[in-house]
Symmetry: C2
Subunit: 372 residues, 2 copies
């Protein structure tokens, strides 16, 4: 689709900023430019909620981090306690359940509480963790509502503790290089973004399909990645949003959204059109169209095997553990006492856009997005 | 993105309907199932408007058709008359200009008038051609408004003449096989469609950028392909539409739309999200997401080099001359006295959707699409 004249004259991987970033990713797994200090004690992480994400992704990732270690677990399932303690050598004094969670305040083993609970519980446990004097790392979506996000931010600020979100894609070399390519105008002026993420959800009884626990459906869970990608690439907040929802299985998706498409206007004139679904596979991409080229990722949001292509050229980058990268970045932010780029405000801004999407679906009109 | 388990058990190209279609396309260039009858006289086509589309695509295509021949030209540029007459052996009595066009009524050399004029002139010349007793083949978009489309249909019906539109993609083996794959549920139940077509337009003084001549911008000219693709794949008419427009170059695009994204709801629950632009290249695709797979074309709307992929497998199909295929189909419809599948009603339905898109942009609300 592109002739050679659309290709940038210099080789992408040899370009200034990008090359530095690629090198940084190869070295420490993320692009903050802060290498591991071997002499510094690793920060202790308490994992709250030992479901499949914690089991299959986060706990293994913690073994790969330079700056973090799995120091404590919080679970409501007693049989998981010994299994996890044995597997990860967790101190018996650092095993909690949801009743005695607040005792974590006196656990010097724990610096960071990582919340991997159903969405509706993020608000409560972020605030409890902040009150216990711990930094908080919270899975996405940040909460069920923007108001809850504000309260979570306030609680962490009141406790002088850091709060950051599990927006792992902001730490992948693929997304960072895509962002650089757009910012450095390797595709000319950015004109339009198309982004979508979805999958066919299985077990009809899982919490993700209960509105009270999940807050919403596909949009809250995976559509948020497409929304994030648009905000990440533009560096802007959407001004207005139009959205529509469709439901083809009213039983399985009785409480939450099955499929949503939406459009966003950004201040610079970029338009984005996006989609999400819980009812089919294969939707996993972001495409940035510029006045002089295009850049795309497909898959864009998987845990591994990300693919980046810029102006028709596949960019070869090392695959990395996204969770290890985001956790090491958070630990570095804590040590250096600077806010994370995926701070609570980032989560709040996504929820403001998500609320505008749901409102647009309800009202069948364009909805202006509230400012954070 | 797809595991082997998502692949259909039988090989696509060996499947019943599709294989027949592939074979038909290889034989006669389209899929109507009607082979050329060598004994029948070819239908004479008068080409109205000798711009780049006629020069570079349609006139060469007419040399490849089984059932048509270039019999007459209509041009407002005298120096083109001899050039075309010599090149294509056109009878001196079958050369017209816009003043004496109506004399074509007594030209037995001409069966079909093919209108390749700026959009705003389609209405007038379709009606004049019908009154001259000729069948009419008209480039897309059919007209500037749905009301004009209705008048064009009425004129042709009153004259008992056929009217069809230049929706060439409906005759390509790639689109036909994509449609078959969707209808035969090779991707499971169709859930969502993403479609977009755009290009970076050149000469700022061309008629396509003048509202009075073009009726609109990118949407009218190329966005209509994405709209068509959604209607063609679902076999349904959109119920409601939401759309937004962006303009980053208010000088070049002072009169017409530069970029538009829009969403459509279809009766079966399929959602489509689409885009078009006159300000960047590379947007040229349709993706059909099903409950059990996906099918896509990229490029989808170019004159050649179409690419079709179904459930991760590239489908190898012969590239064909789209214009030759659509013209041979029209000739066959005329001979068999049956309406074309790209009849005037098809053009009207697109204009009804286009009018809903423009209205949604203006009102910033969802707009219900009028029925034809």
């Amino acid at each position: 689709m592109h002739s050679d004249k659309n290709l940038p004259r210099r080789d992408f991987l040899s370009a200034g900023v990008s090359a530095a970033c690629v090198a940084a990713v190869a070295r420490v797994g993320y692009c903050s430019g802060v290498p591991a200090k071997e002499e510094t004690k690793k920060l202790g992480v308490a994992l709250v909620g030992l479901g499949s994400l914690s089991t299959n992704q986060i706990a293994p990732a913690l073994q790969k981090t330079a700056h973090c270690r799995l120091a404590a677990i919080v679970t409501g399932t007693p049989e998981k306690e010994k299994k996890w303690a044995d597997k990860y050598a967790i101190d018996s004094g650092s095993i909690y359940n949801y009743e005695n969670f607040d005792k974590i305040a006196s656990d010097d083993n724990v610096d960071i509480v990582y919340i991997v609970l159903p969405n509706s519980m993020h608000h409560e446990y972020t605030i409890r963790a902040a009150k216990a004097g711990k930094h908080v790392f919270c899975e996405k979506p940040m909460a069920n509502t923007a108001q809850e996000c504000r309260e979570m931010i306030a609680a962490c600020e009141a406790a002088s503790k850091q709060l950051a979100l599990g927006y792992r894609c902001q730490f992948t070399s693929h997304h960072l290089n895509l962002q650089s390519a757009v910012r450095e105008k390797m595709i000319g002026e950015l004109k339009m973004i198309e982004a979508g993420f979805g999958f066919r959800i299985g077990d009809p009884n899982q919490w993700r399909l209960k509105k009270a626990l999940a807050g919403g459906g596909a949009l809250m869970d995976v559509g948020i990645y497409a929304l994030q990608a648009c905000r990440f690439l533009t560096g802007e907040e959407p001004i207005s949003i139009m959205a529509q929802e469709t439901k083809t299985d009213a039983t399985k998706f009785a409480e939450v959204d099955e499929s949503i498409t939406w459009m966003m206007k950004f201040p610079s004139g970029v338009d984005a059109y996006c989609s999400t679904s819980y009812n089919f596979n294969g939707l996993n991409k972001v495409v940035a169209y510029g006045s002089n080229g295009l850049a795309k990722m497909d898959p864009a949001y998987s845990y591994s095997d990300l693919q980046l292509e810029i102006n028709g050229k596949k960019i070869e980058l090392k695959q990395q553990d996204h969770f290890a990268s985001e956790l090491d970045d958070f630990a570095t932010c804590i040590r250096e006492n600077r806010p994370s780029k995926v701070s609570g405000y980032e989560g709040l801004k996504d929820l403001l856009a998500i609320e505008a999407i749901y409102k647009s679906i309800e009202n069948r009109t364009s909805v202006d997005v509230q400012t954070a």
